[in-house]
Amino acid sequence: MSTPPTTDDSGFEFDESAVRRKRRLGKLFLGLCGTATLVGIVALVALLVDVVVEAWGWLTWEFLTYPPSQIVEHYDPSNYGDLPTGPGGLYPAIVGSIYLIVLTAIFTLFLGVGAAIYLEEYAPDNRLTRFIEANITNLAGVPSIVYGLLGLAVFVRALQTGASLIAGALTLTLLILPIVIVQSQESLRAVPDSMRQASYGTGATKWQTIRNVVLPEAVPGIMTGIILSLSRAIGETAPILMVGAATTMFTPPELTDPTGPFSAMPMQIFEWAKLPDGDFQHVAAAGIVVLLTVLLLMNAVAIYIRNAYDPRG
């Protein structure tokens, strides 16, 4: 006990070769991880550049404000001067997509937040609740094209809405509902229990507590979740294809009458890509750029909200 078990008096040897070897391995691993991260970023950049290059020269103001045309020369800005009709564009589909998303947002907001509130704040911990939660998890994994079939059978056929804006919006609502519910639940769960206790402690009822304390706290998270889900919905092609979105519309649908036909950006892009003239690939790419811009804007808003309300500053 009087002599130290491991130390020699000459000082302490800190540089162990074993550690150095491990550090080299660690550097290698870090390189690997960094490279993997770059793969995703490079793919994103390649994709964006590819689309933008294809669309270059075809994306004009007129493209955003005119209805589509079957004749590819109508999209070429150099021909705008001498057309029997007007330039070709994406206008009705842009408006269609926006209306579609607005309706979807309204339905999703009520259903999604309502369901999340039930599950987080009201639901007792019993079999039914667990079943509902498991069911939601499962629905989140159902392929979107199956939702398309559902929308076709239930809304278009059974409920007789036809291939309408409302049918499309309801189908997209069901599609994103599971994700919105789960994310809203997470936001609600992130509200510290001490907030609820403080409210109950002052004699508030459950509903008062939820409305005045829990929801305001959870709103940024809920909004982020909804916007991100909507930005997924706006790009979905398969379900609205199944529901039967119009391939060509010359006027935007009317929001006041959501039972009419509609076209949407992904649908229009898909149609352009199928047309014979090779130049339509450029038109489709221009459409994609518009769609991606809308989508990135929505993402940016979501990120802004997330950061602006991030409790960590």
């Binding site: 793919a43 629905l139 199956v146 079939l149």
Partner: protein
């Protein structure tokens, strides 16, 4: 204050309490929409599939190796080529997304500064939000030409066709990278620092902490991310419909054309099959098969999560 009797009863005029009860039912209804959705999906799919299976034996459907349901004189209804196509895409996509996504998650969670993480994570998440139809074009206009350029020049790499499983699998893989990386990163970040400190305190290097402590401790979350990403790949529609082709065949060569279940559904859904024909009904049989496959994946995922739930708080 104490002499007068106090009233603690539920008085009828207490608006709060009534609103409370009403709110409860409304929110329950919202949550129940999700159950109704599942019931409706199953009902729609089963109803259509019953018609189909009254004409086609289930055994032939599940074991047949040839899928040509619309051939007039001698149709065959073996779903295996479609399932095979789906599996090729799924496995290929997973081969890309799992290593890349996991390494990315490790980088973001363990190495990147909060600043880098707060930029890179949402940027990568954009990949998951890009409409799948865009990935389809990207595959055709960018990935396939690269593969064709490599084909013949690189040894062992056969010449890929215009439509091939590989290009589709690559874009689907890119698309699901963020599902793997973000969810895994969440799981890794939720590993408490106390575990990292414990390992550092024992003289572990960062590499060892990341791979031997953080990774195993977050394994259930990571596996759940894999499963989620894989079910997304199974259900992926537009990208494969555009890039993988439309030839249902059992081939081992990923550079050949194939067809997935979803792509077949798009084909029927947009085509001319008359409602009620066996070809149209096959849509529901395939839809049901797809639903069952993703359902099983989800059950598996839930099982993994509950079985290997992280027990630290």
């Amino acid at each position: 204050m104490s002499s007068e009797p106090i009233d603690l009863s539920r008085s009828g005029n207490d608006v709060g309490t009534i609103g409370d009860r009403v709110a409860r039912y409304v929110f329950f209804a919202c949550a129940f929409v999700t159950v109704a959705t599942t019931v409706a999906i199953i009902a729609v799919l089963v109803e259509g599939a019953i018609d189909f299976f009254s004409a086609v034996s289930i055994v032939e459907y599940l074991t047949g190796t040839n899928w040509s349901p619309r051939a007039a004189d001698d149709p065959s209804f073996g779903v295996l080529p479609l399932v095979w196509g789906t599996l090729m895409i799924t496995v290929g996509a997973a081969l890309i997304a799992v290593p890349v996504g996991t390494l990315t998650a490790i980088y973001l969670s363990e190495y990147a500064s909060p600043r880098v993480r707060s930029v890179v994570k949402p940027v990568l998440e954009i990949l998951a939000g890009i409409p799948t139809i865009v990935y389809g074009f990207f595959a055709i206009s960018f990935i396939t030409p690269i593969l064709q350029g490599l084909g013949g020049r690189v040894p062992l790499l056969p010449e890929p066709g215009t439509f091939n499983a590989a290009a589709a699998a690559i874009v689907v893989g890119i698309m699901i990278i963020p599902m793997v990386s973000s969810i895994s990163e969440d799981a890794m970040s939720s590993v408490p620092d106390s575990l990292r400190n414990a390992a550092y305190g024992l003289g572990a290097t960062k590499f060892e902490v990341s791979t031997q402590v953080v990774l195993p401790a977050s394994l259930s979350g990571i596996v759940a991310a894999y499963i989620l990403a894989v079910s997304r790949a199974i259900g992926e529609t537009m990208a494969v419909a555009l890039a993988a082709g439309a030839l249902p065949q059992l081939t081992r060569n990923p550079f050949e054309e194939i067809q997935t279940m979803t792509a077949y559904m798009v084909e029927i859904g947009t085509g001319d099959a008359s409602v009620g024909s066996i070809g149209y009904q096959s849509l529901f049989a395939i839809g049901l098969t797809l639903f069952v496959m993703t359902f099983l994946m989800n059950i598996f995922s839930m099982w993994v999560r509950s079985r290997y739930r992280e027990e630290y708080q």
